[in-house]
Symmetry: C2
Subunit: 242 residues, 2 copies
């Protein structure tokens, strides 16, 4: 993953986003993603790419037995640890470098982090092995429609109006030079086929899938209505059944 | 569904397409879709929107017990019936108007027809009821990326070069004025979320999903390389498990 999240200027901008300041309630997809969350009571939980730790805390507050929260950014983890984090084990690591015994966790969650991962095939195999039978895997990722072109920006008319969202190079997976909060960063585009097939091939049954629309009560936020024009996120819940 | 398939001029153009002349082997997605086909031996099979009947014949040739093939176009059915159709019951009907007893079929297939259906919720409920437990539902449909904008055409530069494929109004489902073989026709856009959720909500387990890429040996056909730039079809295999 890009080290951009440890860049002070970027980190400041990221910290100012509603989802960073307000946590889950400030995230436009949470009204959908919350329904994807399994019962955390007495469960061993892994959060991959925990950021400020909002999802890890959500699990801990719902009586998870153990919560391990991973992030590759020191600044992210420092911020996460500065908040009430009772019962959460934070670890500084790229998720690709993790190594757990088979069947270590009941639940693995990840929010908007997998599009920074280069080698998805290896990671999904590991995730499957780390889960116990009937374990839950719940994640959000940037939508393939959103990552295909690269710039992640609208296509505009000469006078600066949004015309539409561009899709290109869809079947050419891999590195993209994306712009987020004004900074360039590397993300990885993968097709829907890759996400779904990798789950099916690694013993998962898909239980829920959603491309979240903005919640009604956020529609007045500038730019939010445009979120109806293209999917930006893909949310998936899956169960390890084989 | 649009009555365009009974328009003589359109029908002639449609009949000239490789997938119409050559059947399954002339269809760019068949090298993937064929792997989605279940065992047809001794099965009762329904083909929704059978067109020239290529898939129905495929099932019949693989020793299906019974094959019922439905299409709304008289011309399509006449052409289908003119080919070797032993053991296939052709019926002229909109698929929305069909009525079968619960548990009538072991397999329901449909190729590129559901994007003509206005009321998907009702149809998928019926399809689920028509299938026996552990029955197979295998279908292809135009990809939500392909149907969202409406025109189903690329976005071009002033000098006529393809720039990218436009996506817009993704979360506004419903009618689109599409152009196919130079003719305007009504198609219905639905999100990926709708297709997947409707399957999960109606007792199906998703067993396969693919956005087919063009086969290697068709890459030299003019325009085929551009098919790598955006997904055009969505193929899904599902099993009725609940």
């Amino acid at each position: 993953m890009d080290r951009i999240y440890d860049d002070p200027a970027f980190f400041e901008k990221y910290s100012d986003m509603p989802r960073s300041r307000l946590g889950l309630e400030g995230a436009g997809e949470w009204h959908v993603f919350r329904n994807f969350m399994p019962d955390f009571n007495d469960k061993d939980v892994l959060d991959l790419g925990c950021g400020f730790g909002w999802h890890a805390r959500y699990a801990a507050e719902r009586n998870a037995r153990r919560v391990v929260a991973i992030d590759v950014s020191e600044r992210m983890l420092a911020k996460a640890e500065s908040m009430d984090s009772e019962g959460i084990e934070y670890r500084l690591s790229a998720m690709e470098d993790l190594d757990f015994s088979a069947g270590t966790f009941d639940v693995i969650i990840s929010s908007l982090a997998f599009h920074y991962v280069k080698d998805w095939d290896t990671l999904i195999r590991k995730i499957s092995s780390w889960l116990r039978p009937d374990g839950d895997f719940v994640f959000s990722v940037e939508h393939p429609v959103f990552t295909a072109y690269g710039s992640q920006d609208w296509y505009y008319s000469e006078d600066g109006k949004i015309l539409h969202f561009p899709v290109d190079n869809y079947f050419y997976e891999g590195e993209r030079d994306a712009v987020f909060l004004g900074e360039h960063m590397t993300k990885y585009h993968r097709t829907l086929t890759t996400y779904i097939s990798s789950l099916l091939d690694n013993g998962f049954t898909i239980t829920k899938l959603a491309e979240p629309e903005p919640p009604e009560d956020m529609m007045d936020i500038p730019g939010m209505k445009d979120e109806m024009r293209r999917p930006m996120m893909l949310l998936i819940a899956a169960k390890k059944t084989r």
